[in-house]
C-alpha cells in the first residue's frame, strides 16, 4: 500500500492491527498444528503486498477472492453451520429441497426496521427482497437492504468472544459482568459507573431490557449515538410542536414538493416507501413537481424539476423567506428573509422563491415541504410550519411519536456528556452495544483517548474494529439474519426478526449481552423476545392466541396494527417565530472561504458496510465512483483553485487535517466541498482496507453536517479513482429522451421525433424464424427511476456476479450486469442530471450473436439472447459488436472458488462463471424457468406478473416492468403501448426487447422551464486518463 492509499495517522493503528490480527489468526486449529512457519507464511500472505502483473496486488487478490488462509482459520472457528442447518433430521414442513423458501424479517437502517423477505435455500439465505406488507418497504428495497446479506457471510467478521484477544467462554463473560456488578453493589449499588452506549434503538424488547437494567441501577446511564442521527429532525419537531414527533410524509398525495436539502429519494430509513409513493404520483395523473434546494447534488436533486444549488446558510435564508411569504411566520420578516436569501440583488424577492411560494400556495393541501437531516433544527421547524400553513398537515403529512427509543428514558445522556464522564474517570464499566464510536464519534471528543480512563470496557460488534481494539471484552455479534430480535420502523411498525441460519460464528445478540446484567444471565435471545411479546401479542394480535399471533407476526414480518397512529399536534407559529427569530450561529457573517459538508457515503453508509465488496464496488449514484470517497468540488471552484479530479488535497478544518482526492462534481454549490464519511477504515477488514479516506477525522460536534472555514491546499500527489463512467455528455445522441409533461401532452409523438427512425419490421428480407408461446420483454420508466442502484446490487446477488476490485474497475472491467448511466445536460454549475439503467436489450436481431464463432450466444424462441457459458471460448467479439456494451468478460478468475463461506451466498440456480467467459443479463432466466415449472405442473400458462426479475423486484420506484410482450393484456405490453416508449439505438436495426419510457419533467412555466431535449450541452469529458 502506498502512503497515498491511506490518510496519515492510520498507519500507526494499522501496525497495531496487524499484531492483533496475527493473534486472531493464531486461534485456528490449522495454526495450532504448525506455529513458526505459519506465522511467517501468514506474513508473506497478508502483510507484504507482492505487486502482480495487472497491478492486482496479492493483498487485493486475497481481499476479493477471500483469502484462503483466513478461511483455513475460519473453518477452524465455524461451528459447522451445515451440520445444524442441513441435512434435515426432521425436515420442516413445506420445505422441498431445491425450492427456495421466503422468510420475513427486517433490515435495520440506522436502527429503523424495513421489512424484507429473505430467500433461503436449504437454510442458506441467498437473496433479500422487499416485503410489501411492511409500511417502510412496500415491496421495495435499497442498496443496503440488498447488500447486508453479504455482511453476514463476510469472512472477516469477528468469530468468537475474546478478552484481550484471548478466546473466552460465554460463561466467563457472564461471570466477569457479575463480578463488576458485585463490585458496584459493594460501592452503593446504584450503578454509578455503569454506562451503556448503543446506536439508535427501536427494538421494544431491547428498550424494555435497558429500562429494567437502568431501573435496577438508578445511576447507570444509557447513551445512544448514530453517526447519521436524527437529532436535528427531533429538535426541529420539538421547536415546532413542543414535543418530538416523526413526520410521516405522503408523496403519493403531493403535487408540489419543496425539498430543503432532503434526500428522501436517495437515502434514509423510509426511502423505499417514499420513492414508491413519489413515483406513484409522478407516474399517475399528471406529473408532480419537485423543487430542490441543496448544497451538494443528490439523487433527489437529480430528479427535481427545478434544482437550485445553494450554500447551507442560503438554504436556511431561503426557507425563512419562503416560510414568511407563505405566512408560516406571522409577523412580516419577509424582507429579512428575502435579502438573506442573497440569491437576488437588492431587496427584490428572489424570483425562484416567489415562483415556489406561488406554486405551493396554488396547491394547498396537496403540497409538501420537507427538510433534510443535514439541516439545522429550525429549518425543520420552518418546514413543519410551512406544511401547517399550507394545510398539508393531515393530508400529505401527519405526525407520529418517534420510534427511536433514546428520548423515552430519563437516564439518557448525550455522547459529549458520556465522554466527559469517561475522561473524568467517572465511568467504571462501559458497555458498547453495537456501533463503532472510536471510528465514527466526533473527532473533537477523542472518544478513543477517553476510553483509556474506563476500567472495564465491553464491545459487542460484528467486526474486530477500531473500537474493539480498545476494549477488554469483545463479544462477536450475531448478524441480524442470524438472530432473534425485534425492531420498529420509523413510524412504529414492529417486525420480529427471525434467524435465517444458525450463527455462522460464535455470535451473540444485544439481548443476550444485556441479559447478562439481569437475574437470568444466559437467557437466549429467542426466549427474551418471545417473553416480551407473550403479554403484548395477545392484545395487539387481535385476540388470537399467542402462538397464532406469534406465527402470523413472523410470517407477515410485521406485528398487526403496531404502526403508530397519527398524533394531533399543531405548530405554535408565533412561539416558533420567537424561538428562531435570530438563530445564533447564522446571523453574523459567515467566515469567508469554503464550507465542508459531511454526508454519509451513498454505498458504505456510516462505515458499517465498508467491508462489503458488493457495496464498495457499487458506483455511487452521481459520481459513478467506486472503492473510494472523495472531496467533491464545484467545477468553478476547481478552476479557481487549479484542481483536477484525482488531485490529492489536504483538507484542514479547525486544525484537523486529512488528505483527500478531489472529485470535480457538476452542480455542487461553489462555496462547498462535500466529503462522504464511512470509508478510510483502519480496521475494517480486507475489503475496506485501503478504500478511501477517513472523513470522520474532520467531523466535530460543532460541525456534524457542515463546517465553515475549510482550508484546502493542493499537494503534488494524485490518487487514481476508479469510476465506471468517464464521459458525461450524450454528445447530442437521443439516448435519454426527456420532454416536459406539457410537450408530451401536446404531441405524444415528440418522443419518437427525438431519435432516428428505426427500420420497420417489414424492412427485412429474412424469413421469420419460429417463435415460442411467450415473448419476454422489459420496460424501464426513466421518469420514475431515481438512480438508486438497488437493481444493480439485487442483480449482483441474484446472479452470483463477482467483485473485481479497484484495480480492475480502473481498467474498465467491472462486472455488474445492469448499470445506471448518468448524463448531464445544460451548464456545468446547475446541470440537469438524467439516469438510465442499461442492461442487455435482448435484441431480436442481436449483433453479438452473429459474430460468435462457436454459437455460444444464440436466440431462444421466446426472444432471450442466451449466453451459453460453457460453450464460450472468450473471443470478446460479441462485446465489441454490442452497441450497448452490456456484456461483461471474466478477464481473470473473478469468481471466488476458494472461500467456503462465500460459496454459501451464491444462488444455486445460477452458474458461477469461470475465467475467460463472457456473461451478461439473462432476464433472470432462472426465475422464468421457475415460473414455467410451476405453470407446467398446474398445466396452465404462466400468469402475468408471475415472473419478477431481480431488478424489478428491488426497484423501489417500480420503474421496471417485465413480462410477456406477445400478450396484449400483460402489464408490460400496456406500459410499452404508451407513446413515451422508445428503444435505445433502434436505428441500428437491433430491435431491442428492452425499451424505455421517456423521461417526463414538469418544470414550472414561470421559471422558463423550457424543454431541454436530451442530448444538448457539451461538457464533462472527464476522460482520457
Amino acid at each position: 500500500m502506498s502512503a497515498e492509499r491511506k490518510p496519515p495517522g492510520v498507519a500507526v493503528d494499522a501496525s497495531k492491527l496487524e499484531a492483533l490480527r496475527g493473534r486472531e489468526y493464531w486461534r485456528s486449529l490449522e495454526e495450532l498444528a504448525r506455529t513458526e512457519d505459519f506465522q511467517e507464511h501468514l506474513h508473506r500472505e497478508f502483510r507484504v503486498p507482492v505487486p502482480m502483473d495487472g497491478g492486482l496486488d496479492r493483498r487485493e487478490m486475497l481481499t476479493l477472492m477471500g483469502a484462503s488462509m483466513a478461511l483455513a482459520g475460519l473453518t477452524g472457528c465455524v461451528r459447522q453451520p451445515e451440520e445444524r442447518v442441513f441435512p434435515y433430521v426432521r425436515p420442516p414442513e413445506e420445505s422441498v429441497v431445491g425450492e427456495p423458501l421466503y422468510y420475513a424479517s427486517a433490515h435495520l437502517h440506522g436502527g429503523y426496521a424495513r421489512g424484507i423477505l429473505v430467500e433461503s435455500y436449504e437454510g442458506r439465505p441467498t437473496k433479500i427482497e422487499g416485503n410489501d406488507l411492511h409500511p417502510s418497504s412496500k415491496g421495495g428495497t435499497d442498496v443496503f437492504a440488498q447488500g447486508f446479506l453479504l455482511n453476514m457471510y463476510d469472512p472477516d467478521r469477528s468469530q468468537t468472544l475474546t478478552e484481550r484477544g484471548e478466546i473466552r467462554a460465554w460463561s466467563s463473560f457472564i461471570a466477569a459482568v457479575k463480578l463488576a456488578l458485585e463490585r458496584d453493589r459493594s460501592a452503593g449499588g446504584r450503578g454509578a459507573g455503569l454506562r451503556f452506549l448503543t446506536g439508535t434503538v427501536t427494538s421494544p424488547t431491547l428498550l424494555q431490557q435497558l429500562q429494567d437494567i437502568l431501573a435496577a441501577h438508578p445511576d447507570a446511564k444509557w447513551t445512544s449515538w448514530e453517526p447519521v442521527g436524527r437529532e436535528n429532525a427531533m429538535e426541529g419537531a420539538r421547536l415546532a410542536f413542543g414535543e418530538p414527533v416523526e413526520a410521516r410524509y405522503r408523496f403519493d398525495a403531493a403535487d408540489v414538493v419543496l425539498s430543503l436539502e432532503s434526500d428522501f429519494l436517495g437515502t434514509g430509513p423510509d426511502m423505499p416507501r417514499l420513492v414508491r409513493d413519489f413515483a406513484a404520483r409522478r407516474r399517475g395523473k399528471g406529473s408532480n413537481r419537485l423543487y430542490v434546494v441543496e448544497s451538494t447534488p443528490s439523487p433527489t436533486g437529480a430528479k427535481a424539476d427545478h434544482r437550485r444549488p445553494m450554500a447551507p446558510r442560503e438554504i436556511e435564508a431561503f426557507a425563512r423567506a419562503v416560510a414568511t411569504q407563505l405566512g408560516a411566520l406571522p409577523s412580516g420578516v419577509s424582507g429579512v428573509g428575502a435579502s438573506a436569501a442573497g440569491a437576488a440583488p437588492g431587496n427584490a424577492p428572489d424570483p425562484f422563491a416567489a415562483a415556489v411560494v406561488e406554486d405551493l400556495k396554488a396547491h394547498r393541501g396537496a403540497s409538501l415541504v420537507i427538510a433534510g437531516e443535514s439541516q439545522p433544527a429550525h429549518v425543520h421547524a420552518l418546514a413543519h410550519a410551512m406544511n401547517e400553513a399550507l394545510g398539508n398537515a393531515g393530508k400529505t403529512v401527519d405526525y407520529t411519536e418517534p420510534s427511536a427509543g433514546a428520548p423515552l428514558t430519563s437516564q439518557s445522556a448525550t455522547l459529549p456528556e458520556l465522554v466527559a464522564d469517561m475522561a473524568a474517570g467517572k465511568v467504571g464499566f462501559l458497555v458498547i452495544v453495537g456501533g463503532n464510536p472510536v471510528f465514527d464519534a466526533p473527532a473533537d471528543l477523542e472518544f478513543g483517548k477517553a476510553m483509556d480512563k474506563v476500567d472495564l470496557r465491553v464491545h459487542l460488534g460484528l467486526y474486530e474494529d477500531e473500537t474493539s481494539r480498545l476494549c477488554h471484552w469483545h463479544v462477536a455479534q450475531a448478524h441480524e439474519l442470524e438472530s432473534w430480535s425485534d425492531a420498529r420502523s420509523m413510524h412504529g411498525a414492529v417486525t420480529i426478526l427471525q434467524p435465517l441460519i444458525a450463527p455462522l460464528y460464535d455470535g451473540r445478540t444485544a439481548h443476550e449481552v444485556l441479559a447478562a446484567f439481569t437475574e437470568q444471565p444466559d437467557k437466549t435471545a429467542h426466549d427474551i423476545v418471545k417473553d416480551y411479546w407473550k403479554s403484548r401479542l395477545a392484545t395487539t394480535g387481535g385476540g388470537a392466541d399467542l402462538d397464532t399471533a406469534w406465527r402470523t407476526a413472523l410470517h407477515d414480518g410485521i406485528v398487526k396494527d403496531s404502526e403508530f397512529k397519527a398524533k394531533d399536534v399543531r405548530v405554535d407559529s408565533s412561539a416558533l417565530e420567537a424561538k428562531i427569530q435570530n438563530p445564533k450561529s447564522k446571523t453574523e457573517a459567515e467566515p469567508a472561504g469554503l464550507t465542508l459538508l459531511f454526508r454519509p457515503d451513498p454505498t458504505v453508509w456510516d462505515g458499517r458496510y465498508a467491508n462489503n465488496g458488493w457495496l464498495q464496488e457499487l458506483p455511487k449514484p452521481l459520481t459513478k465512483l467506486t472503492w473510494d470517497n472523495a472531496a467533491m468540488v464545484a467545477p468553478s471552484t476547481a478552476q479557481r483553485l487549479g484542481l483536477q479530479t484525482e488531485d490529492v488535497v489536504e483538507l484542514t478544518l479547525d486544525g484537523r487535517k486529512v488528505l483527500a482526492p478531489v472529485w470535480v462534481l457538476p452542480g455542487q454549490s461553489e462555496s462547498c466541498v462535500t466529503v462522504h464519511f464511512g470509508n478510510g477504515r483502519a480496521r475494517g477488514g480486507r475489503v475496506a482496507s485501503g478504500a478511501g479516506f477517513d472523513a470522520y477525522a474532520l467531523r466535530t460536534t460543532g460541525a456534524l453536517w457542515s463546517g465553515a472555514g475549510l482550508q484546502l491546499s493542493k499537494t503534488l500527489r494524485r490518487r487514481t479513482l476508479a469510476t465506471t463512467q468517464h464521459h458525461h455528455s450524450m454528445e447530442g445522441r437521443g439516448l435519454i429522451r426527456s420532454v416536459t409533461a406539457d410537450q408530451y401532452a401536446a404531441d405524444p409523438r415528440i418522443v419518437a421525433k427525438l431519435g432516428e427512425e428505426p427500420p420497420g419490421p417489414t424492412d427485412t428480407l429474412y424469413p421469420k424464424l419460429p417463435t415460442g408461446s411467450y415473448a419476454w420483454g422489459l420496460s424501464i420508466d426513466l421518469s420514475t427511476c431515481v438512480g438508486c442502484n438497488a437493481c444493480v446490487i439485487a442483480c449482483q446477488a441474484e446472479n452470483n456476479i463477482p467483485v473485481v476490485g479497484k484495480d480492475q474497475v480502473t481498467r474498465g472491467r467491472h462486472m455488474q450486469w445492469i448499470r445506471i448511466d448518468r448524463y448531464y445536460t445544460g451548464g456545468l454549475e446547475a446541470p440537469d442530471t438524467l439516469f438510465q439503467p442499461v442492461t442487455c436489450m435482448h435484441c431480436e436481431d442481436a449483433p453479438c450473436e452473429t459474430v460468435c464463432p462457436v454459437a455460444a450466444t444464440s436466440h431462444s424462441a421466446e426472444g432471450l439472447n442466451q449466453m451459453v457459458y460453457n460453450r464460450c471460448v472468450g473471443t470478446r467479439y460479441c462485446s465489441n459488436n454490442c452497441p450497448y456494451k452490456v456484456r461483461r468478460f471474466n478477464f481473470y478468475l473473478y469468481s471466488d472458488y476458494t472461500t467456503e463461506v462465500l460459496k454459501m451466498v451464491r444462488n444455486p440456480e445460477v452458474t458461477v462463471r469461470s475465467r475467460g467467459v463472457m456473461e451478461k443479463c439473462s432476464y433472470c432466466v432462472q426465475r422464468i424457468n421457475h415460473a414455467r415449472y410451476a405453470a407446467e405442473k398446474e398445466n396452465r400458462p404462466i400468469r402475468d406478473g408471475e415472473i419478477v426479475t431481480a431488478c424489478q423486484q428491488a426497484c423501489p420506484a417500480q420503474a421496471i416492468v417485465f413480462g410477456n410482450v406477445s400478450d396484449p393484456d400483460s402489464a408490460v405490453s400496456k406500459v410499452k403501448s404508451e407513446m413515451r416508449t422508445y428503444g435505445l439505438l433502434t436505428e441500428l436495426g437491433t430491435r431491442p426487447r428492452t425499451t424505455y419510457l421517456a423521461h417526463l419533467s414538469n418544470p414550472n412555466p414561470k421559471l422558463g422551464g423550457a424543454a431541454r431535449p436530451a442530448g444538448e450541452g457539451e461538457h464533462g469529458h472527464k476522460d482520457d486518463v
Binding site: 424464424l769 431480436e844 436481431d845 452473429t850 454459437a855 444464440s858 436466440h859 424462441a861 430491435r991
Partner: protein
Amino acid sequence: MTAPNRTRRGHGLHGLMAEFETPQELVDAAHHAREAGYTRLDAYTPYPIEALTEALHIQDRRLPAVVLGGGILGGLCGYALCYWTSVIAYPLNIGGKPYHSAPAFIVPTFECTILFAAFAAVLGMLGLNGLPMPYHPVFNAERFALASRDRFFLCIEARDPKFDREKVWAFLTGLKAHAVMDVDE
C-alpha cells in the same frame, strides 16, 4: 569408334546416357534421337527447358483435370458442411438470420475449393511423376550428379525396341556428346 566392354556387376543395363555441356546441344540431340526412331528416351536437365518437351514429344494433359476435380470437390464439401451443420444438424436462431445464410457460407466454400485444388495439384504432380522415388538407375551413372548443376543428359533406355548398346553408343557419340556412359539397373 566402338563401345568399351562393360564390366558388369550382375545387373542389367538401364540404358545409355550421353552428357552435354549446353542445353542447345541436348535439344538438338533429342531431336536427332527421335528422328533416329528412338522412343524410350528421357532427358535430365538442371532447369526446365520447354524446347525439350516438343523434342521428346512429351504431352501429359492429366494434371489440370485432376486439379479441376479437386477444386469442384472442395467447393461442394465446403458448402455442404455449412449447409448441413446450420440447417439440418443443429439449426439455431443466430441474430435473427435465416438458417440457410447463403452469403455467409460463400467464404468457407471458396477456401475449401482452393485448399482441395492445391492439394490435388501437388499430390497429382508427385503421383504422376512417381515421386517420391528414392532410388532410380540413372543415379548410378557417374557424373549424373551434375544434372542438378550444369550438365545436360540424354538417356536412351534399354527398354527401347531399337536398343542396341553398340549402335546407340555410336549414335550418341556421333551427337558430339561430351561423354557417353552406361547406366546400370
